[in-house]
Amino acid sequence: MADSDQVILTMKGISRAFPGVQALQDVDFNLRRGEIHALMGENGAGKSTLIKVLTGVEAPDTGVITLEDKEVQVRSPQHAQELGISTVYQEINLCPNLTVAENILIGREPRRTGRIDWKRMNAQAVDILERVDIGIDVTQTLGSYSVAIQQMVAIVRALDVASTKILILDEPTSSLDTYETDQLFSVMRKLKGQGTAIIFITHFIDQVYEISDRITILRNGKLVGDYDTNSLTHLELVSNMLGRTLVELDSVSKSRSKLVADGHTSDPVMQARQLGSTGAIDPFDLDLYEGEVVGFAGLLGSGRTEIANLLFGVDKPDHGTLAYNGKAVKKFSPLSSIERGVALSPEDRKAAGIVDELSVRENIVLAMQANRGWLRYLSSAKQTEIADKYIKMLNIVTPSPEQPVKNLSGGNQQKVILARWLATNPQVLILDEPTRGIDVGAKTEIQKLVVSLAEEGKTCIFISSELEEVLRTSDRIVVLRDQEKITELTGDEMNETLIMQTIAGS
């Protein structure tokens, strides 16, 4: 505690329970002036609850928050701002139709005789942006700038609204590419130099190492510990976050390794040649064979989802060809893909996966029915039969097939979507982040399912941000970086270090 004078914030013994869940249990957290402090944990670890407690969205059941040696109770987000705690969320909460200057200064516009003094407002905005070395035309609408710039404007606004001492960045880099992330990081370093304490929440491990000074890790609502970034290895970080040994599935993978060793005797099911879409993914070649799991490793925005969308026909390519069972694909649409026997469980379960007010039954038969067309309607008895079959098979926990799917937990919703696609009896199953935000048990079940589907002769593409998950399920790994397919790794090449190095581009 040599540098206790440096501590700006301490949260001690914070607990918060929700019906059925102990979201936070006796968690300690401390933050120093001028540091970038990464808050890490899987989904459901309690990161967001901790932030909500800190920003006054939720009141803690127990625990003490001390800000600059004074005990405080944060009553509301407004109050948090008054205390100097500002948050910038992943979705930019600014108005794209207003100018950059307005977005920074609205609410505190400089006025002259009652009316807004635009000249001074623009000049002030330029000044404020220059403090973080951003020189852009502030009279343009915010929407005309890239997400990264918008994010930085949001940060600048947060800093300027109140004299912010603590800045919370909630997954700011999720939708940024490498270059934009670098821009953001340089702003963060600048702020750090000015003494601002930054809490940085992210899923990207390499970014944590690049920018943060310290790391606090949460798991299942409990504190695992806080560490100096320099003294914590990647593996330690990952194992602390996951908190379990990586054996469960190893046996499954091993039994399958001979299949891969046989090599691909048959023709590929799907064959992409220089397939690409400008601005989304550079032209790539890809062969998919029967009975294999192909993992996609790469960061968000690396092009992994974009490839999935191309293969499934959500997006249309403007380059190259795609063949299915040797026949060239001409029509790119989800429906024609389903007809061919391709399925995609999309990345964003809520926005593109479930139809939340429809029942479990309807959600399961939806794609199958779409494939049959509107006239060949499945009778409700038949629908229930199909739904029951998959509820049993995938172990979906629901009171009845008639339950609206929105009432199910994340893991069960994900299984419903898998059921939807299995019901169409696909040859190629593309799973984009199928385990995101679901509990560990369901995760393992889904991983096992993927492997067993491949054993049945289906082709699976497994996309995940969690590298070790990709490693465990896949027979072959495609590594992507920066909207580009970099390489394919098989056999012994499939190890974390090599993949990380490839992703990092070193």
């Binding site: 407004q78 701002q81 930019i92 909460n93 600014l94 108005c95 794209p96 139709n97 207003l98 307005e102 609205i106 609410g107 516009e109 006025r111 009652g114 009316r115 807004i116 070395d133 951003i134 020189g135 852009i136 035309d137 009279t139 343009q140 609408t141 929407g143 005309s144 890239s146 997400v147 990264a148 606004r157 609204v161 590419d177 490498t178 270059y179 934009e180 670098d182 821009q183 990081f185 340089s186 370093r189 400008t278 601005g279 925005g301 920066d482 909207q483 581009g505």
Partner: protein, 349 residues
């Protein structure tokens, strides 16, 4: 993409309307000498003063991301209520006029309040408001009431001479005052910028600490006020009030706002443009009258088509913007981005 081009682009819809109006008028004037007379031009303003007032109020509502379908009905209600009070209760127009304005504002505030508090879609609430206002107009009187109030008559006949013999009515002056006030409100006050912010993204506006609820109620209040004022001008013009007046006018007003370059989903547009939306509307009517062969219903068809064109252009613009935003430019052109930005500590790989 040069900077000046970008700035131009946000004015494009409004400039297009202005050009459309000027070109239309010039062609009309060449074709029909009657249109070249200054008074024909001024009549355009005289005849459409009430529409301009109503559309100006509506512009702010639409900019905030809302809609007000009660415009025409409130005009009718105001005309009847004013006529009834002046003719059957003997109240002076000097009392009736402020009373009517107050009523319009209160009506708007009520609708805004319901929209805000109960989170009902504005389109439904103002629809009910439209039914209510028109129904109330008929509760007051089933027949048209002629207004004989001396001041009201004087006001109606007053002419303000401009160049030579040509003149405008008091209504035009009122309309321009309203237009100027609303332009000031929209562009130079915190309230106005909040309206734009709400129209751009209401959720964000709220999170930015802007008084969204208060602004919303105020926007509908001003809308109701403008409708009532338009109703007074309308009845002053005809010197009578009737529940059937201004039937379907809300649609004309909405069309004028859209043609004036305002995005119907809110957040983008200019109050000034609405004036040209109204003028284009008037111009089409004038052209059809001067033509003599085309029937009056062509006005509606042409207005409908023009509205469509503007909606299509704007939706194309919007999708172009979206596409541009979705394409990550950074890796493809780091040089372009770095001229405005400090070089990052680590250059992009």
């Amino acid at each position: 993409m040069s900077r000046s081009f970008k700035i131009d682009r946000k004015y494009v819809p409004m400039l297009a309307t202005i050009c459309l109006f000027v070109a239309g008028y010039v062609i009309g004037a060449i074709q029909y000498p009657g249109m070249a007379r200054p008074q024909t031009f001024f009549n355009l303003f005289i005849d459409n003063a009430f529409l301009l007032i109503a559309s100006t109020g509506l512009t702010l509502v639409i900019l905030s991301g809302g809609i007000d379908l009660s415009v025409g009905a409130v005009i009718a209600l105001t005309s009847v209520a004013a006529a009834y009070l002046m003719e059957h209760t003997g109240l002076s127009s000097l009392i009736v006029i402020p009373l009517m304005l107050l009523m319009g504002a209160a009506f708007g505030a009520l609708m805004g309040g319901i929209i805000h508090v109960f989170k009902v879609q504005p389109f439904i609430v103002t629809l009910a408001g439209m039914f209510f206002a028109r129904g109330m107009a008929f509760f007051i009187s089933l027949d048209a009431i002629t207004i004989t109030d001396p001041f009201y008559r004087t006001l109606s006949l007053a002419r303000i001479h401009l160049i030579g013999k040509s003149f405008v009515s008091v209504h035009v002056i009122i309309a321009f005052v309203v237009l100027a006030v609303f332009m000031y409100l929209a562009h130079l006050t915190h309230f106005g910028r909040t309206v734009y912010a709400m129209g751009g993204n209401e959720q964000s506006a709220r999170l930015m600490g802007l008084a969204v609820g208060r602004t919303k109620v105020l926007v509908y209040t001003l809308g109701g006020f403008c409708s009532a004022l338009a109703g007074l001008v309308f009845s002053n013009n005809l010197l009578s009030g009737h529940g059937l007046y201004a039937n379907g006018l809300e649609m004309e007003a909405i069309a004028a706002v859209i043609i004036g370059g305002t995005l119907l989903t809110g957040g983008v547009g200019y109050v000034f443009g609405t004036m040209f939306g109204v003028l284009v509307n008037g111009l089409i009517q004038v052209l059809i009258i001067f033509n003599g062969e085309l029937s009056s219903w062509w006005t509606r068809i042409v207005i409908g088509l023009l509205t469509l064109v503007f909606i299509l252009v704007q939706s194309t613009f919007a999708s172009m913007r979206r596409r541009q935003a979705s394409i990550k430019p950074a890796r493809k052109r780091p040089a372009a981005a770095s001229d405005g930005l400090a070089a990052p500590d680590t250059p992009p790989s």
